[in-house]
């Protein structure tokens, strides 16, 4: 494997990446769960689906939190997660309007 140049290497940015993972990761998890809760199977049914949704929030959040350090810089982590969040919430709002 060719040696990586300094600018190609992953930058640590520990605190920034961690905070982005915690807050934007959580926001993204809630966004995905919101899509599933409203427009997934059985719709907004109370009952066990509510509990299932609650469990799934952390099932999405924890892997995001773990893999956030793969982004080269905190900046790129922020941009990608922002993009993902905008997509998910845009989709949610559009579907909500259509309903």
């Amino acid at each position: 494997m060719a040696r990586l140049l300094l600018q190609d290497k992953i930058q640590p940015h520990w605190w920034c990446k961690t905070f982005i993972g915690i807050f934007m990761g959580l926001l993204l998890s809630y966004g995905l769960i919101a899509l599933f809760a409203w427009f997934g199977p059985d719709g907004l049914e109370t009952g066990m689906k509510v509990q299932f949704n609650m469990w799934m929030i952390s099932a999405i959040w924890l892997p995001i939190l773990t893999l956030i350090y793969l982004f080269k810089t905190a900046r790129s982590a922020f941009i990608y997660l922002l993009f993902a969040n905008v997509c998910v919430y845009f989709l949610f709002v559009s579907l909500w309007w259509l309903q």
């Binding site: 992953i10 009952g47 509990q51």
Partner: protein, 539 residues
């Protein structure tokens, strides 16, 4: 598998930091958690048979209950019926009762004498199992935040970091996983052997660990998670509000136990009925919690599924017994609980979880050892941070195990001395835990590791010794040690004693004949207790 070197370096840092900050808390949680697999058995072992309810035949139980609710005010509030092989046993709280852990609850037991007259006897409720469970959930950290235990929240954060540690551990292992997974290299030095066994245990039990980490996060933070979810649901409430009752029923109208059993058998045909818990009987909101279990079902409670019935109308309020025909999500959610509790394969499953729990504790201990080895100074004095971490590792790990062992050992003596039982357990644990940490800082990791392992051996051996002694001392309350589940505690204590003895001898060999420039080495010149001539020199 090739992984970029910067990725490896990044996740090496993630692994080290998440590991070292959480390992000691997780050690306690896993060791205590392994024991909670047998919580009912431990509680049964700890309680003298003379101070438990005597079962009556199922035909007579209704008459006994009738008499109890006529004559005993406390029984009118609520009572418990335990179904055992040879009948059913009646008890109620003479003091305390209700949800949560309390240390000064007293139970009253009723039985019938030869003339069919009710005899009531009181005893403190034994909370040893619940205290071990509390230790498992909080790592022994006391205090409350709102209605949640502080320790639970701290362990929730630790569990999230532990999830990170697991994934990062796998990532840094990927380049060598195929070649080295089953290689336990003993000839390449102790460090390599620890690393190999750490990796092997981690990879082999990875699914178990991922699941435990995730479920522990959910158990700790489900309230805020639901809080966030209610924003998603908008105006729609997450849970249907419970109906409040308006009628207070006459206790004379209470159906017979057989009637409940028929109703429950219809609701959950393949379940055993273990226990009925009647509460708030003399209020407009009476409740019957029926505890049911099945060996081959994924159950939502630690040891049971629960069906809540209205005790007078037999209407089902809430049930954790589910089938996929009613609701796709119910069995899935139940399986998350069940996979944490390990209750889906009877005792085989519990033993598996017990072993995996202990292996988990080993994982965290060995992780700390590796951290210490990495920071070892090859020459001269070890760094202060390393010494502190070594003392803390030995103190916390040995301290939690010794604390539990002493509390279990104290059990029979507390009954004999007739002191506050559950406070006694608590004091035993925390005193021993604090003393152990103090000792390991005072003597340093190398000496204290050996001494504490000997102490663990001695305490573990004293548990079966006390059982033998209990047979001889006449004033001891009687234990029926004939039951196999009860003897198992003694057998396991001996197994643990043997393991601790082996570890003590290994630690001793490491201290005197191992690497000189190590935190585990004992410098013979400074150890006046030992004559230099008696120690063979390392070649």
């Amino acid at each position: 598998m090739k992984i970029r070197s910067d990725v490896l370096r990044t996740y090496q840092s993630v692994h080290t930091w998440t590991g070292i900050t959480t390992s000691l808390l997780l050690f306690i949680a896993f060791f205590a958690g392994a024991l909670t697999m047998f919580k009912p058995q431990i509680e049964q072992w700890a309680t003298p048979t003379s101070l438990t309810a005597t079962p009556v035949s199922e035909q007579k139980i209704d008459r006994l209950i009738g008499q109890a609710i006529r004559e005993q005010d406390k029984a009118r509030e609520g009572f418990n019926v335990d179904f055992v092989e040879d009948g059913a046993a009646l008890s109620w709280f003479a003091h305390g009762g209700g949800r949560g852990l309390r240390l000064d609850d007293r139970l009253a037991f009723a039985r019938l004498d030869k003339n069919e007259q009710m005899i009531v006897q009181q005893a403190p409720s034994n909370e040893l199992g619940n205290l071990i469970d509390q230790l498992h959930r909080t790592a022994g950290i006391m205090g409350k935040v709102g209605h949640e235990d502080l320790g639970v929240l701290i362990l929730g954060v630790a569990a999230a970091l532990y999830f990170l540690a697991l994934i990062s551990g796998v990532i840094i292992l990927l380049p060598t996983i195929v070649k080295h997974l089953f290689a336990l290299r003993q000839h390449k030095g102790a460090n390599r052997f620890w690393l190999d066994s750490h990796n092997l245990v981690g990879v082999v039990s990875l699914p178990f660990h991922l699941l435990i980490a995730w479920t522990a996060v959910v158990f700790a933070f489900h309230d805020p998670m639901y809080g966030g979810l209610s924003l998603v649901y908008g105006d729609k409430p997450l849970f249907e509000p419970r109906d409040r009752g308006s009628i207070t029923y006459d206790l004379e109208q209470l159906p017979s136990m057989a009637e409940y059993q028929r109703q429950l058998q219809a609701l959950a045909p393949d379940y055993r009925i273990d226990k009925f818990e009647f509460t708030q009987l003399n209020t407009p909101n009476p409740s019957l919690a029926a505890y049911l279990s099945a060996d081959d079902r994924m159950q939502r409670g630690g040891y049971h599924d629960i069906i809540y019935l209205h005790p007078f109308t037999l209407e089902v309020g809430y049930s954790t017994v589910t089938s996929s025909e009613q609701d796709v999500f119910a069995p899935v959610v139940n399986s998350f609980f069940s996979l944490h509790f390990g209750n889906y394969a009877a005792n085989y499953g519990r033993w598996m979880y017990f072993i995996m729990g202990l292996l988990g504790a080993f994982l965290f201990y060995s992780g700390n050892l590796l951290w210490l080895e990495k920071r070892r100074e090859k020459h001269g004095e070890q760094r202060k941070a390393t010494k502190v971490m070594a003392a803390l590792t030995v103190g916390v790990c040995a301290g939690s195990m010794l604390g539990i062992a002493v509390a279990m050992l104290a059990s029979k003596w507390l009954y004999l001395l007739n002191v506050q039982l559950n406070q006694g357990y608590l004091w035993s644990y925390y005193t021993v835990f604090a003393l152990t940490i103090g000792y390991s800082f005072y003597r340093g990791a190398a000496h204290s590791a050996i001494h504490l392992l000997y102490a663990l051996t001695a305490v573990c051996l004293a548990i079966p010794a006390t059982t033998l002694l209990a047979l001889i001392i006449p004033s001891m309350p009687s234990w029926s040690s004939a039951e196999t589940s009860n003897l198992m505690v003694e057998v396991m204590a001996i197994v643990f004693a043997f393991a601790f003895l082996c570890a003590a001898n290994k630690a001793k060999a490491r201290a005197y004949f191992g690497d000189r420039n190590s935190i585990w080495a004992i410098n013979m010149a400074s150890d006046k207790a030992l004559e230099p001539a008696t120690i063979p020199q390392q070649s």
